[in-house]
Amino acid sequence: MRLLLVEDSVSLGEAVREQITDTGYAVDWMQCLAHAQTSVATTDYDLILLDLLLPDGKGLDFLKELRQAGNTTPVIILTALDQLTDRIAGLNAGADDYLVKPFDLEELSARVAAVARRSSGNPSPIIQLKDLKVDLVSRAITRGETCINLTAKEWAVFEALLQHLGVLLSRTQLEDSLYAFGAEIESNAVEVHISRLRKKLGHDLIETVRGMGYRLVKQ
């Protein structure tokens, strides 16, 4: 999953990026609206974390423009505005959730996961996939009584597929989910992780569409 973080405070932005990256998501961090607009125009994000007061404008205006342009990417507002009505205005402008500064980073991770689940059409943190039970909160996969362990990179690819259950994802889209683990991504990284996932989760779970990409098979 690839996130866009729009936050002008270097100290806060750095900590949030590290936290989200640790969770297994790829993060692009922009410190002004102009850069955020460019990023949104060139990349498909799964979620946007948006500060409301930025050096070159208001986050709320950016959000309204985004929605007017038909972009439905989930948005979580990170606001320092303390009035409840300001925060409600954010929701009315099209935000999916908001967090009031100062916030707990664990709380931020939980909210990001919850919004991501809601936007994927499956708000429940527990997903049954064939004989597998996937807990998105604890990141645990079990088959019967057996616990299956995934590496962070494997989880990132698996979660990207899970977010778009039954939908074909290109190799580039899956590479985006690995972006968090470093700028250098091996050319065959996606294939390697898909192969490992198949070994651990079952060979018929992930379907290859030749020349197009991969998709997680529905039940």
Partner: protein, 441 residues
């Protein structure tokens, strides 16, 4: 008991009328004194004239008698009241001639010359024929006094009409003249406590106008000060949040990366302190906002929706403990500033979450009548502690961290919107716990 102040109209009405009465009475007394002097002078002169004229006639009469020493009484031509009486006597006091209604007791035993006053009469005496024949003329003092009394009555009579007419006239005129002042008073009375716009002062007398200008000047200064304070509170809230958020986030990352050691424990303590600092700064700013007391909005909104947002804002862990009970059929609308109300309700919910039993839910009820009840399970708060819970910086006897401001903020806002926060322990309908309740409509 403090007495009710007397109106200017009444003061002027009574005061001016009393002044008028005193002035009139003084003039009346002066006139009476002048009248007495003039009347006495004129009547004394008449008395002298009568005596001298009568004496010459009496002397001729006496000398033409056959027996001069015989007393003769002059008979009245027509019956009448005799105010002025006279008595002609010899030097030894033997009466020789007298008017028909003379009273000898009025005159002294022996005749005397000149003007004088006796107990009941004013007398004048004159002599002729080398001091052998004397005449004395007497006029009763009662007739002079009666004339004076009648004159005074005539002077005092107008006062009977003058006092009520003057009262009425002054009352009406002062009332008309104070019309501008009354309009100004009404304009001040009808405005709300939070209305700090200038008061319109039309038709005010020049004596009052500087006061109205001073009031408007004061209102402008108050408005400016409150605006500055409001702006400071809002800006501080915003400006403090981001650096606090950054510091807290960095410390949390540090904690995450630190190995399990004393070092990590210290980081956890720093994180805790930062959270307390963030909480305290937020509470202080909320208190400042509550003290500003501007709590009304023009458009009504749904209280239940605000409560829903508030619960959503809680951390996922806290949210799982809160059970919200809203009226099913109808919206509960309010005109109280939603941001102020949000601060109030949030503090009550946070208080319940913090001090309530950790494994028990916090119930938030909103009734159709606009009564909000926040109930938590937990030990009963002693009665002696209950009355101090809404005081500032007073914390219950608990180990839970807190600023001791939550209930004080809620109470300040509640009083600001004209209601009162009522606390119960045990909660109503329970044998334990704590309840905060208030009517929001």
């Amino acid at each position: 008991m403090k007495s009710r102040p007397i109106s200017l109209q009444r003061r002027l009405g009574v005061g001016l009328t009393l002044g008028l009465v005193v002035l009139w009475l003084t003039i009346t007394l002066l006139i009476a004194a002048m009248l007495t002097k003039t009347l006495n002078k004129a009547l004394d002169s008449s008395l002298e004239e009568v005596a001298q004229r009568m004496l010459s006639l009496a002397v001729v009469e006496i000398f033409n008698r056959e027996t001069p020493d015989l007393l003769q009484q002059v008979v009245a031509l027509h019956p009448h009241d005799e105010y002025i009486t006279y008595l002609v006597r010899s030097a030894d006091g033997t009466p020789l001639l007298q008017s028909h209604a003379v009273d000898a007791a009025v005159f002294p035993a022996k005749p005397q010359l000149g003007l004088r006053t006796r107990a009941t009469h004013r007398l004048y005496g004159a002599s002729a024929v080398s001091g052998t024949i004397f005449i004395e003329v007497a006029e009763p003092l009662a007739s002079r006094n009666q004339a004076l009394r009648q004159s005074l009555k005539l002077l005092l009579l107008p006062l009977i009409f003058l006092v009520p007419l003057s009262l009425l006239g002054i009352w009406l005129f002062v009332g008309y003249s104070l019309g501008g002042v009354k309009a100004y008073r009404n304009a001040l009375e009808v405005r709300g406590a939070n209305d700090l716009t200038p008061v319109v002062a039309n038709n005010l007398p020049t004596e009052i106008l500087p006061i109205a200008e001073a009031v408007n000047h004061l209102l402008a200064r108050l408005r400016f000060t409150l605006e500055a304070e409001r702006s400071f509170t809002a800006n501080s809230a915003h400006e403090l949040r981001t650096p606090l958020a950054a510091a807290l986030a960095q410390v949390q990352r540090l904690r995450h990366e630190a190995p399990n050691s004393t070092f990590k424990k210290r980081i956890i303590r720093i994180e805790k302190s930062l959270e307390e600092l963030a909480n305290l700064s937020e509470k202080l700013l909320q208190l400042a906002k509550a003290d500003l007391g501007e709590f009304l909005v023009a458009t009504p909104y749904d209280l239940g929706q605000i409560l829903g947002y508030l619960v959503d804002e809680l951390s996922l862990e806290a949210k799982a403990r809160v059970k919200l009970f809203l009226p099913e059929a109808k919206q509960v609308t309010s005109l109280v500033d939603p941001d102020a109300l949000a601060i109030l309700m949030r503090n009550l919910i946070e208080n319940a979450l913090k001090h309530g039993a950790a494994n028990q839910p916090v119930e938030v009820h909103l009734t159709i009548e606009g009564v909000l009840r926040v109930i938590n399970a937990g030990p009963i708060v002693p009665a002696e502690d209950m009355q101090h819970l809404t005081e500032r910086f007073v914390r219950s006897k608990t180990l839970a961290s807190g600023s001791g401001l939550g209930l004080a903020i809620a109470q300040t806002i509640a009083l600001g919107v004209g209601t009162k926060l009522v606390l119960y322990s045990p909660a109503r309908g329970r044998e334990d716990g704590f309840e905060a309740s208030l009517k929001l409509l």
